[in-house]
């Protein structure tokens, strides 16, 4: 190991340990502890986990408490060994009043869990949470949950909701107190209002085989949104979804931001998914683009692991295609760190955000950023609401800029998102799962 790598590793361990110390003490909220136990139970038993997820997934479509209870017991009946607590629930469901009680309890439970991940039913309802975060030194980006877009009307409606969210958040954010860490980096000012947008919701025409159709249709709705963001001084971040739409999304974003009218705003960003084997080439494309058309403010790249791992794996297996994602966690983690390094060294071209709950990945990003001679203000860290809350607090307490991804929407809309998050949270090799089950800090911070 070279001395540079050596000193990086030392730094990673030191920063990681500091952050771990800054974590709020566990179990301070009894409700939070309850969730963790439910998650833990689900993580141990695959069948039970599947049953619970299928129930969570169907809750919005249930028409009555009776209907809810029938679905819950229907799923649980398929679990070979039902835990005693759930067996009792199933016995209750033999009578109609019993089903009503069970349905109400289950709906309440799901709603409670949903609220851990979803900050409000509407942007207006979320404002209080956003303000609270800001006051505690945490920036936010709002993601509007919704049903899949299959029609023009649905795409128009999503674009309208995004515009309204931008307006409401910008209006509210103007009243927030100053938080210099969150509002400025070496490239200049950072907007307070920040909205993440999904291209799949902006058009019904995404076709994996014909990306230009979705790209062009989405552009018609994204262009006015970018204009409005520029007027409001807000940031628009274009999320990345499954590989099926990646080409359309990337071409859309790079194409629009190259247009003359957007060369000087709004602040905008895109996403790089480290679980994709070809993500290094994607980064090369993005950096070459950034070099060829400089813009102020620079585009922000959010590096994430990627949230569609199971989907990508299943789709590739069903079609007999090479797996586009890393199948071994350590390979993915190593790629994440390599991309982090490249991004940190490309800061004259792009703003860098690292979206991760993996303490090692986060500490590594901070370490290489400092080693590269960068100021902490030129590294943004991002977490998901409900999953990265402790890390968020630790980062804020350490004086770093952290932004929390805050989904907004009703339960119906949120459920698909929620199920994905739950899957991630209870997957056996997830960092959060390892952390929750007491893996020693030394191991958590070891190089992948």
């Amino acid at each position: 190991m070279s001395t540079v790598q050596d000193s990086t590793e030392q730094e990673v361990r030191r920063i990681g340990a500091e952050l771990a110390d800054a974590f709020p003490s566990a179990g301070h909220s009894p409700m939070r502890a309850l969730d963790s136990r439910a998650m833990e139970l689900a993580a141990r038993d695959r069948e039970l986990k599947a049953a619970l997820f299928r129930f969570v997934d169907v809750v919005p479509a249930c028409r009555s408490l009776d209907d809810l209870a029938r679905h819950l017991t229907g799923f649980l009946e398929e679990v070979p060994e039902t835990p005693p607590s759930l067996a009792a629930a199933m016995r209750i469901a033999h009578t109609r009043p019993g089903r009503a009680a069970l349905g109400a309890a289950a709906a309440g439970g799901v709603k409670h869990m949903a609220h851990r991940f979803i900050v409000g039913e509407s942007p207006a309802a979320a404002l209080e949470v956003l303000r609270g975060l800001w006051k505690r030194g945490v920036a936010s980006t709002v993601d509007l949950l919704g049903e899949a877009t299959v029609t023009e009307a649905e795409a128009d409606n999503y674009a309208r909701r995004c515009t309204e969210a931008l307006e409401e958040i910008a209006r509210e954010a103007a009243r927030w107190p100053e938080r210099p860490v969150l509002e400025r980096d070496s490239a200049g000012r950072l907007p307070r209002a920040n909205v993440s947008v999904k291209v799949s919701a902006l058009t019904p025409l995404l076709r994996p085989d014909a990306p230009e159709r979705g790209r062009d249709d989405a552009a018609c709705r994204l262009r006015p949104l970018l204009r409005r963001a520029r007027e409001l001084d807000a940031h628009i971040h274009i999320d990345m979804e499954s590989l099926d739409s990646r080409e359309a999304v990337l071409e859309l974003v790079l194409g629009l931001l190259r247009e003359d009218e957007f060369r000087e705003g709004p602040s905008a960003g895109l996403v790089l998914q480290a679980y994709l084997r070809d993500s290094p080439e994607q980064l090369t494309t993005i950096l070459e683009w950034a070099r060829s058309c400089p813009r102020t403010p620079p585009v922000q790249i959010r590096l994430v692991k990627g949230a569609y791992w199971d989907h990508e794996l299943v789709e590739a297996r069903q079609h007999g295609w090479p797996t586009p994602v890393f199948e071994v966690k350590a390979d993915c983690d190593r790629n994440f760190e390599a991309l982090t390094r490249r991004l940190v060294h490309a800061r004259e071209l792009v703003r860098v955000a690292i979206g991760s709950h993996n303490l090692r990945s986060v500490a590594h990003a901070i370490a290489v950023s400092r080693q590269a001679g960068g100021s902490d203000q030129d590294l943004e860290l991002q977490v998901l609401r409900g999953l990265g809350d402790e890390l968020q607090d630790a980062l804020a307490a350490s004086g770093l800029r952290v932004r929390t991804y805050c989904p907004v929407g009703d339960l119906v809309a949120g459920m698909a998102y929620l199920v994905r998050r739950l899957l991630e949270n209870t997957s056996n090799d997830s960092f959060l799962h390892e952390q929750a089950t007491g893996t020693p800090l030394e191991e958590l911070l070891a190089a992948p």
């Binding site: 028409r63 209907d67 029609t151 007999g320």
Partner: protein, 528 residues
């Protein structure tokens, strides 16, 4: 042979990658340069242009001639059957492993020409690229799957053995198989029926649809290149009279047919006649029509149901026997479903099969377009049209070619023919039902039972439909087309077919005769 890798499906092109898409235009241009293809009649070793000919053309541009084909005659049919009868014993005698090698060779020949063959389907049948490529892959799958299955079948089945006797059950070929195939899967369907017959040691005379002779020519070339003797696979391009001659020929043992119900019934009737000199009962393997229903329960996830229904109904302009024709939706969510399906269909693009941006290609020929338009008028009369697609983008359908807009109709009168008859085109109807039980009652009354769909999440509802559905292929919470060899054995019940399952473990049994042999192994009290 024993070291053959386990069967797996030929991977379709990953067209979501630009690098993969980049090769398509060149492949199409290369094929265009060879058009029109000359398709001869191939009767054993004899290759003849025939005394008369006919043409196949591009449904998206009918002035483009894709193939000029010999028009085989009834005499040609008799000659081909006679040659096949003489060749069959020899082809049977070489054994399943040698025959499997020939089929695998054919698969390799197709594999080496995947883009070229898909391009030919784009032109001859207006099959859009992803579908055309899928068809080529399915043809390869049938060859690979049946080759392996025939080797396994040759070993026979285990019987009860008692002292003093040796019992064995073997499967032997039936003789000559007439394959009569449709144009909508112009390689895969003729290939599947032919490969099953050949793998089990039968000789084949193939009469492909008159709309797709060029694709059939490629199939026969592949088989012969792989090592199937010319006498064991003859090609008779032509029309109904050739098919009828084959069906009536006393030298034919098995008729494998995929097509319409009326023709299928004619074949079944004709096959029941025993001609003078005929010493066997003809067997019919038939895959006929469908009127496929998708049930949408009140707890369905519409985010998934809507795209799956739309693609099941309109991919390849609905010209698949498995395509969705009727949606039976729980009245509690019917308005939402109708609105979303209608909106999704309004943005569908009607266009050329060669464009990857096309959602709905033209139908196969003028008569098909007239039939579809007729049903569309009927739907308008008997109910209401809730969406007509393909007109949003530039205000009209392409000029030349047999283009039909995708149509969704709802609330049709219960006695409308549109609800009963197979349209085989881009027309979908949506009906409200009280609940899943009411939907099952509708299914009970249907003559067809090919594919069916269910969108529901309650395990009890899924169980109930699984047990009560009459269909041969039920798809739960997904689209209802795209059966894969080895994964979704395909075929219908009731008037949809003879219940045979293409691409499944039992299919080959329809091409063989079981023979049990019992030998006395006791001689003067000694068991030898």
């Amino acid at each position: 042979m024993t070291d053959l890798p386990e069967f797996s499906n030929e991977p379709i092109l990953e067209l979501r990658r630009a690098s993969v898409r980049a090769g398509l235009a060149d492949a199409l241009a290369a094929v265009d340069e060879t058009l029109p293809l000359e398709v001869p009649a191939m009767i054993g070793g004899e290759v003849t242009p025939g005394s008369a000919s006919f043409e196949s053309s591009d449904p998206g541009e009918p002035s483009r001639v894709v193939a000029r084909a010999a028009r085989a005659t009834e005499d040609d049919a008799r000659a081909a059957v006679a040659i096949a009868s003489r060749a069959a014993p020899g082809w049977a005698a070489i054994g399943a492993e040698a025959r499997a090698q020939a089929l695998l060779g054919a698969a390799e020949w197709l594999r080496a020409r995947r883009l070229e063959l898909a391009a030919l389907e784009v032109r001859e049948c207006a099959k859009p690229w992803p579908e055309a490529d899928g068809d080529v892959c399915e043809a390869i799958d049938f060859l690979e799957y049946y080759a392996r299955a025939a080797v396994a079948l040759e070993a026979g089945r285990t019987l009860l053995q008692v002292p003093g006797e040796r019992n064995e059950l073997r499967y032997v070929p039936r003789g000559v198989v007439a394959v009569i195939s449709p144009w909508n899967f112009p390689l895969a369907i003729p290939c599947g029926m032919t490969a099953a017959a050949l793998a089990t040691g039968n000789a084949v005379v193939l009469k492909p649809a008159e709309q797709s002779p060029a694709c059939a020519l490629r199939l026969v070339q592949a088989l012969r290149a792989g090592g199937v003797p010319p006498e064991a696979i003859s090609l008779l391009p032509g029309f109904g009279e050739v098919g009828a001659a084959l069906v009536h020929d006393p030298g034919v043992h098995t008729i494998a047919f995929t097509g319409s119900l009326p023709v299928g019934l004619e074949i079944v009737r004709a096959a029941a006649e025993v001609a003078p000199g005929q010493r066997h009962l003809k067997r019919v393997v038939a895959e006929l029509g469908g009127k496929n229903c998708v049930i949408v329960a009140s707890d369905a996830d519409l985010d998934e149901a809507v795209p799956a229904i739309v693609s099941s109904a309109f991919v390849y302009a609905g010209q698949k026997c498995s395509a969705a024709a009727r949606v039976l939706v729980d009245e509690a969510i019917a308005d939402a479903l109708i609105e979303r399906v209608a909106g999704a269909v309004r943005v569908l693009v009607v266009g050329q099969a060669s464009s990857l941006g096309t959602d709905v290609p033209p139908v196969i020929e003028e008569a098909a377009a007239e039939r579809v338009n007729g049903y569309a008028e009927m739907a308008e009369r008997d109910g209401r049209i809730v969406a007509r697609g393909g007109e949003a983008a530039d205000g009209g359908l392409p000029e030349a070619g047999w283009f039909c807009p995708p149509i969704v109709a709802a609330d049709l009168a219960g006695d409308s023919p549109v609800l009963r008859e197979e349209v085989f085109g881009p027309l979908l109807t949506i009906e409200r039902v009280r609940d899943v039980d009411a939907a099952l009652e509708v299914l009970d009354g249907l003559p067809f039972a090919l594919t069916g769909g269910l969108f529901a999440r309650d395990p009890a509802v899924i169980r109930k439909v699984r047990e009560r559905t009459p269909v041969g292929n039920l798809y739960v919470n997904r689209g209802i087309t795209g059966a894969m060899v080895g994964r979704q054995p395909f075929g219908g019940n009731r008037l949809s077919g003879t219940g045979t399952k293409a691409g499944g473990p039992d299919y080959l049994l329809h091409f063989v005769e079981p023979r049990a042999v019992t030998e006395n192994t006791m001689r003067h009290g000694l068991v030898v």
